[in-house]
Amino acid sequence: MAKQGLAEVFSTMNGKVFQDNQKLSFLVEWKGVQSSYKLPCFFGLKRRIDAIDLVGMLNDPSAGYDFEVVAPCGSDRCFVLTIPEIIEFRSLLAGARVMLELNSIIYECLHRPVLC
């Protein structure tokens, strides 16, 4: 637990994803800077990152294709990512997604049977 109400979901070398159980949102920490997202915007960010054409970037020699600018919804944060950073950021969000799915499965097995 990083802060009160925050649960770490997944982390990589430069990034972390936390779940804010009080605000029902996600906190993305990337290179020391944090930004908060509601669930639709968090998954919108994942889709944007997944949709980046890495092969196209690698094949294009012009300087304009050395980085990608991503401005997710619901936040002032703007990510400017190089190719290695995109790969890591993609891993961070994909890892977070898997952990959230896993949490759903655990929750279904452990908590919901008690309620019913």
Binding site: L24, N103, S104, E108, H111
Partner: protein, 178 residues
Amino acid sequence: MKDLLRLKTSLTEEIETALNEQIKREAHASSAYLAMASWCEQHGFEYSAGYFFKQAEEERAHMLKIFKHVLDLGGNAVSPDVSMIQLEFDSFRAVFEQALENEIAVTQSINRIVGKAHQVQDYTTVAFLQWFLQEQVEEEYVARRALELFDVIGEEGVGQFMIDKQIPKITYGDSATE
């Protein structure tokens, strides 16, 4: 840790993606029928054009039905990007051959989604798609019957004129049309 994922949506990522792909297929089918209506109208087959206009509306209604289902379950419904619509056809018969091919493709894709929904125990989506499976029985029947008319009536002489007049009269059974 709270289960935020489930609190937001009861759709799994896999089913949400599959339903969004189906939304796109229905939108594509609607545009394809519109292109067929345009071709028929331009070639003097106005009854068939009317039939395809009606089909285009139906496919759009199907698309919206799935779109709303995804939203009702808290998912992310994606407004589809439709491209690569076939605008030209070799013959009057070729239009109906393509229409039947499209309906078969739609049936198969719905079957695949039902299979996936069973795998992940998403019985809400299974139940929702039952209506579409029944609808596809009717859609395929009508498309197949339209194509049969080309053999039954024949295209020579006034044949094409007669086929064109018969197309809007094709109906499925009373139980399906309700």
